[in-house]
Every structure is written in structure tokens, then in C-alpha cells.
Amino acid sequence: MANLKDLKTRIDSVKSTRKITKAMQMVAAAKLRRAQESAEAARPYAERMNAVLGNLAQGAAESDNAPRLLRGTGADKVHLLIVATSERGLCGGFNSSIAKLARVHANDLIETGNTVKIVTIGKKGRDQLKRDFGDYMIDHVDMSEVKRLGYTHAADIAKGVLSRFDADEFDVATVFYSKFISVVVQEPTAQQLIPASFDAQEASSVVYDYEPDENEILDDLLPRSVATQIFTALLENGASEQGARMSAMDNATRNAGEMIDKLTIEFNRSRQAAITNELIEIISGAEAL
């Protein structure tokens, strides 16, 4: 049976671990609320943008002089995967599930003879993909300095992606992120950015006058839409990360609690055993006299 002192130290150490995970859970809960708020605040813009583009794109997609961002390069050989993950760990399966989805996707593409290029956002995703796909990685965006995610960050990433597209470095761009559904459910998602695709049913029946003409508006809006979609993805990711961390830390706290209970029982038993032992010794000593 374990030494009493050892047990005591173990209980204390698990207790302090529980304190830390509890604190992290509460911090994550507070951050989650903020992240959800900003994701919600950004929604009207993204929805409007999509509706308008859906409308415009329907008419323009068939014509030959549609913008390249909509039409694509005419090939789908070179794929750019933008993998957005977090900068910090301890958030359950959040990073792994995004990395896994990206990995499956990348392997499929490679097997079918396509070329894959990977841009990672956030340290964790890069670390996980580096071993298998190190040779395909062309860029990494460091977000560790970013305290509060702003549109400018997404715009900068989009600018990088668009300049690669202009330089014919890839044909299809897909962003990988985790969609926030609830605190316990986050869904890793792949979304195609270039060539742009829109839901047809979003198109409304109103006929608009366009100023300047459709194609010029599309030229102006499509790059913005790429930035907006990246921004949305990053915001969703932010909320998902906090949600995942919250439930992971909740689990950890509960586990620590169970462990403490078990150790305490063991501790009490050992103490009782020691006392009984001592008593037996005293009694038998007294009898011998």
C-alpha cells in the first residue's frame, strides 16, 4: 500500500491541476462569448455580400469574359489549401480534426495526380501537417501576435492569396476551418474560395441597375468576398477554439475531481490501516506483559 505522505502529495498536485483547468475553462467561457459576439456581428456583412454576389454571379458565370476569380483558370491541377488552426493547444480535438480533414483532402488530391500547396494559419496546424506535407508548404501566417482578430488580418491573408492567384500559382483554393455549431459541437469544414461558388437559391428576384456594369462590380467585389470569407472562417475558428477548449477543460476538471475522490478514499483506507496496525501492536504488547 502506498505511503501516506506520497498519497497526500499526489492529492495536492491533482488539486492544483484541477484549479488550473477550472480557471482555463472559465477564461475560455468568457472568450467564447466575445468570439461569438464578433462572429455574430460580422454575419450581416457576409450574408449581404453573398446574396449580392449570388445574384451577380448567376448572370455572369456563363459569359466568357467573367472575372477569373469566378471562372477559374480553366484547370484544376494545382490546389491551394489554406488550413486555419489555432496558435495554442489544450483545446481538445479542435486542431487535430481540422488537420485531419486537410490531410485526407490533400492525400486524395495527390493520389489523383494533382499538385498540392499548403498555406497554414496558426502554429498548431503547421506543426501537425509538417511531418507529412512539409514539402508542400509554401507559406505560414503567424497569428500569435494577434490579440483581437480584425478584418485587416483577413484582408492581408486574402491579399497574399490573390497575388498568388494572379501569378498563376494555383487553380483552386480551399480554406479549412472549424464551423462553430455549439459549445460541444464544432464541425471541421472545407470551403472553396477560388473559383468562387455561390448558392443559387440565395439569388433574389429583384432586378437591379448596376453602376458601373456587372463585370466591373464583380471585379471589385470578388476579391473583397475572398477576404470576407477568410474573415468569417477565422471568426468561426475563434469561437470553435474557445468552445472546444471550454469543453476539454470541463472534462479535465471533472476527471481531476474523480481522481481526487479516488485518491482520498485510498488515503483514508491507508490511514485507517495504519491506525489498526498500531492498535494491534499496542494490544498484543500489553497482553504479552
Binding site: S38, A41, A42, P44, Y45, A46, R48, M49, V52, L56, G150, Y151, A154, A155, S163, D166, V206, V207, Y208, D209, Y210, E211, P212, E216, I217, D220, L221, R224, A227, T228, F231
Partner: protein
């Protein structure tokens, strides 16, 4: 209430304004336009300039740097990349926008240059008008 319209100003990060107004002046890419209730549906891109929403005698103004506006019979929605209330606009802010536009112009690929040059000129004009 047919002579009022809904005016929304939305940036990628949040909703900046949502009010009932009599009319909105929008700095469209091909010239300023005033949208009033029952305006025909129009979609236009924006050039850098001021949006002003008039409600009775009350005028609310915002500086926008780009984006687009959607006007329909019942309202106007402006999706601006960046919008700042006019009271917060200073020479420094405008100068910063101008500098940024210049940097972008220099870095841009050839087929974007004419458009970006126009932006630089527009920012320049805003700065000059601010001083006047």
C-alpha cells in the same frame, strides 16, 4: 411612413448604423447619388468619400473608403470596408488612407494600376477638401 427609408451601414466587423432616414447621399463609383424612398433598385460600388444620411434636419455623416451600396425601394444598405463617423475624421486619418493607397498602387500588378491610381487621386481630393 412611405417617405422614410431604412439605412444600414455595415462593416465586415459589425453593424455601424441602422436608422430611419429621409434620404442618403452615396459616393458611388460613377458619381454621387442621393437615394430617397422608392428609389429604383441599384447596386453600385463606392469610391472614397462621405456618406450622409438626412433625417429631418439631422444629418449623419460617415467617411467610407470603399465597398458597395445596395439601394432598393424600402432602404439602402451600405457595405463599407471601413467607415468612420465624420466627427472623428482628422487630417492624420486621411493622410494615412492616402499613404496606404499609394503603397498599394506601387505594389499592385499592372492590370490593377489604373483603378488604384484613381483611388489615390480620390483620397488626395478628400484630404484637400478637408483642409479647405
Amino acid at each position: 411612413m412611405a417617405d422614410k427609408m431604412q439605412f444600414d451601414l455595415v462593416s465586415p466587423e459589425r453593424k455601424l448604423a441602422s436608422l430611419e432616414v429621409d434620404s442618403v447621399m452615396i459616393p458611388g463609383a460613377e458619381g454621387d447619388m442621393v437615394a430617397m424612398p422608392n428609389h429604383a433598385p441599384v447596386l453600385t460600388t463606392l469610391r472614397p468619400g462621405y456618406i450622409s444620411a438626412t433625417n429631418g434636419t439631422e444629418v449623419t455623416e460617415y467617411l467610407v473608403t470603399g465597398g458597395f451600396a445596395e439601394v432598393s425601394a424600402t432602404g439602402a444598405t451600405v457595405l463599407a470596408e471601413q467607415a468612420i463617423p465624420k466627427s472623428e475624421v482628422t487630417k492624420e486619418v486621411l493622410q494615412e488612407f492616402l499613404d496606404k493607397a499609394k503603397v498599394e498602387l506601387e505594389a499592385a500588378a499592372e492590370h490593377h494600376q489604373s483603378e488604384l491610381a484613381r483611388r489615390v487621386a480620390e483620397h488626395d481630393e478628400l484630404l484637400i477638401r478637408h483642409g479647405a
